[in-house]
Symmetry: C2
Subunit: 178 residues, 2 copies
Amino acid sequence: MDILDVIKNRTSYRGRYKDMPVPKDDLIKILEAGVSAPSGCNKQTTSFIAVDDVKLLNEIKSLITPPVAETAPAFILVLTQKIYAYRDKCFNVQDYSAAIENMLLAVKALGYESCWYEGHITDDDDIAGKIAEHMGIPDEYKIVCILPVGKPAEDIKTAAKKPFNSRVWFNGFGTVSN
Amino acid sequence: MDILDVIKNRTSYRGRYKDMPVPKDDLIKILEAGVSAPSGCNKQTTSFIAVDDVKLLNEIKSLITPPVAETAPAFILVLTQKIYAYRDKCFNVQDYSAAIENMLLAVKALGYESCWYEGHITDDDDIAGKIAEHMGIPDEYKIVCILPVGKPAEDIKTAAKKPFNSRVWFNGFGTVSN
């Protein structure tokens, strides 16, 4: 699929997944997309843990309340480190967001679906912290996002977007292209 | 080009650009990639101003000290709004970062080069604020990034990356894939 079509067709999938494992080669391709993202001053603050071991996957899922992506055959956990680019500047949010977007596009290109679960696990009930504790992840790494990966078992619904001209302008604020 | 190859081959280009305008159709394709990015709770906090008018482009360039991308025939200014997704949660940094990555990939796929200039313009000397003031951009929008767009006039240099296995693990922290 053309990259611009993949970008346009990617959407947040919250439906059920088919009961089919994701081949390790495909997970690696998705993770390669993640590490290929740019990072502020090339600090590469983002790390990744792919989880397809059924026992561990179920343990992680049991910590997610209310549950999401219960039927996904694999998760990618996105981890960030607060590494400063210079002085008090840290671009780790930008870094992991670019990595996540790369992985979402790779997921789509390979025929899978996913969804960027961040707020749900980083809220005050700290689901991410519980997962990190369960897995023995060192304190200097913080889980910020879960990406499920799997073949969709339901229809794909696209999100409604604001009109193009309300967000994109040419040569001036609010100036619509002619 | 295959999307995974585009993702792997994208790099931050800081060289000179050829003196060739970017067709409006290509700028629109790049901007469509930007608006197609996901956003937290679909708040679509990111907006974009493409600048290819020579006079305005030069005025903006004159505000960037020390200069970057002086020879680029077009800029895309990335704007963000602090729109809350829920309670005190705002994902605008994630939103614009995903949009920037989408645009960097579209830039590469269409045969152009770019670089994510954020720290340089959002530092204490507030170059972004000076550009916003010059252009009359309302206070509720903040310029956070400039993406130059153009054909490269110099060789492309790729950034060195940490080893894959130092950032990517399987089914446990630090567990290398076999």
